[in-house]
């Protein structure tokens, strides 16, 4: 049985797995971004805390995905929820770090110019710092998304569904077709997400500084 045969016979199941996979990635990265962008901004205002938090997040990142999923399984049981929790945690670090670095690297003269001409702290953040850091933040989101696409295959192990299901089924039954039917689309998915987000990154980078960051 080739992959094409498999796809022809099981299109509905396959599409369902694919959609579930995309869903897991999208929700995890969105949660990650909602947590880490505000946190990253907060950390740029509290640099000493930042060192600690970034070091901690870095340590969490080194815990293997399987171990994390194991913990999640013990704590939250089987299903979508524990997978989303683990993947959201993983997606935080790249976005957090890029938000922090992106804003920290905005030249302090711009911030002072903003304050000096009478912007409130809020206006300095939204009119100066965030636009100038947009490219860096978006690149963090892109990295997170690509990672999450691959980590999400592990989520199949704890019953969250997605392309991981096909891979695990294939692995446990020595069925090459199943493995490829799960692995190839998830690799393609990573490329597609990366490309789309790269495009979005370019659009969100303010025109006047595109040359430098492209």
């Amino acid at each position: 049985m080739t992959i094409m045969d498999y796809l022809n016979n099981n299109m509905a199941t396959f599409l369902q797995s694919l959609m579930r996979h995309i869903e897991i990635v999208a929700i995890s990265v969105l949660i990650g971004a909602f947590v880490s962008i505000p946190l990253g901004i907060y950390l740029t205002r509290h640099k000493r805390l930042a060192l600690f938090v970034l070091a901690f997040a870095g340590t969490v990142q080194t815990i293997p995905g399987l171990v994390m999923l194991g913990f999640a399984l013990i704590l939250f049981g089987i299903g979508l929820m524990p997978a989303l929790i683990v993947l959201s945690i993983y997606s935080i670090l790249p976005i957090l770090r890029n938000t922090y670095i992106g804003i920290s690297q905005v030249d302090s003269s711009y911030v002072e110019a903003g304050r000096g001409i009478g912007m409130t702290d809020f206006q300095v953040l939204f009119k100066v710092e965030l636009p100038l850091a947009a490219s860096s933040i978006m690149s963090g989101i892109r990295i997170s998304t690509v990672y999450t696409v691959s980590w999400a295959t592990l989520a199949g192990m704890i019953g969250a569904g997605g392309l991981g299901d096909l891979i695990w089924t294939g692995l446990s039954t020595y069925n090459k077709t199943y493995i490829l039917a799960g692995a190839l689309p998830s690799a393609i998915l990573a490329f597609v997400f990366s490309g789309l987000l790269g495009l979005l990154q370019r659009v969100l980078t303010p025109k006047g500084i595109r040359g430098e960051s492209a």
Partner: protein
């Protein structure tokens, strides 16, 4: 207009300002100058409360600055910093319109402000309003920086080494422009620099600071004639003149550096067009490697020039040239002897440094004698 009363500022152990008292009058152009770390920038930033004093008070228009809302205060005070102050993510128009927008001016109003300000510095709205700072030269960026500070016509404008990063020629013309704008709009300007030449050219009053104190506050002429302290004399370097010692002057001290140069491959018509646009009757012609080639006059082109031909065939090399380090006296003698009304000053590598004219000589002599001269 601005009044410092016993202002002191410390950073940890280090005292940056010691019991500073300073009065700045309405419409006055005050330059704060001194060695780095003397407290001049701190003083400036206290006016718009980017830095708060530890003790003492600052009054603006009779009102205690610390009792006003800092953000609102800053919107009423123009602020120009070094080149980098323009926001790279905003166009020229957006940069200039920031403060009017913060103050919720209606769109028609801030648009007309942008137009009229750009007109003030000869940068047509159509050509520049929608460009980003990265598309402008350093001098143009800083012009926009100045305009941004003027957008809501604040009575006070603070300038923190605004021209420090510019080349000398651009700096010269911006200094003239700011001086002209200040005269026209009657602003109170507080200007920080470490360049004595700039201070002498621009200031009504120079405030010389050192180690957190004001060493001397005086008009430029007065400071040149009677520096209160040896550190001021050192700082003024070649600008200082006293009856006893005369500073050697070179041709370069007499020259004007803003000159029109064209490559020898230029066409006759474009030269004529350039001359009429800039209102001059001769041009300096240079080789491809920028070394001096000769001069060409408008009469020469009109009599012998043919449309579309290179000007190289019309160039005369009769104009007298002189090295920039030659004695100023020699330069003056040769200028007076010569039939032409200018000399070409050459750098060591034979590129053109500038020209000496009777006007530039008179101006340089005047500056040597009395300090600042009107442009």
């Amino acid at each position: 207009m601005i009044h410092f009363q016993n202002v002191t500022k410390r950073y940890g152990e280090k005292i940056v300002l010691k019991n500073l008292n300073l009065e700045i009058r309405k419409g006055e152009f005050v330059v704060l100058i001194g060695p780095s770390g003397c407290g001049k920038t701190t003083t400036l930033k206290m006016i718009n409360r980017l830095i708060e004093p530890d003790s003492g008070r600052i009054f603006i228009n009779g009102e205690d600055a610390s009792k006003q809302n800092a953000v609102e205060l800053r919107r009423k005070i123009g602020y120009v910093i070094q080149q980098i102050g323009l926001f790279p993510n905003m166009t020229v128009e957006q940069n200039i319109a920031i403060v009017p927008k913060l103050l919720k001016y209606p769109k028609e109003e801030w648009q007309s402000i942008v137009r009229s300000l750009l007109k003030l510095v000869d940068m047509p709205y159509e050509d520049y309003a929608h460009k980003y700072p990265s598309e402008l030269s350093g001098g143009q960026q800083q012009r926009i920086g100045v305009l941004r500070a003027l957008a809501v016509s604040p009575p006070i404008v603070l300038m923190d080494e605004p021209f420090g990063a510019l080349d000398p020629i651009t700096r010269d013309s911006l200094q003239e422009e700011v001086r002209r704008i200040q005269k026209k709009l009657k602003k109170t300007i507080v200007f920080v620099t470490h360049d004595m030449g700039e201070a002498l050219r621009m200031a009504d009053t120079i405030v010389f600071m050192n180690e957190g104190r004001i060493v001397q506050k005086a008009a430029p002429e007065e400071m040149l004639r009677n520096p209160a302290d040896s550190i001021i004399s050192t700082f003024m370097g070649r600008h200082i003149t006293s009856g006893r010692q005369s500073v050697p002057l070179y041709a370069e001290d007499f020259m004007r550096t803003k000159v029109l140069k064209v490559p020898k491959t230029s066409k006759t018509l474009e030269c004529i067009e350039l001359m009429s646009r800039r209102d001059v009757n001769s041009l300096i012609v240079i080789e491809d490697d920028e070394t001096y080639f000769g001069t060409v006059t408008i009469e020469e082109i009109k009599q012998h020039g043919k449309a579309g031909r290179n000007i190289s065939e019309l160039v005369s090399n009769e104009t007298i040239t002189i090295g920039r380090k030659e004695d100023a006296r020699t330069a003056l003698d040769r200028l007076l002897e010569s039939a032409a009304n200018y000399l070409i000053v050459l750098n060591d590598d034979l590129t053109v440094a500038g020209i000496v004219t009777r006007t530039s000589t008179a101006k340089a002599l005047g500056e040597a004698l009395w300090g600042e001269m009107p442009a």
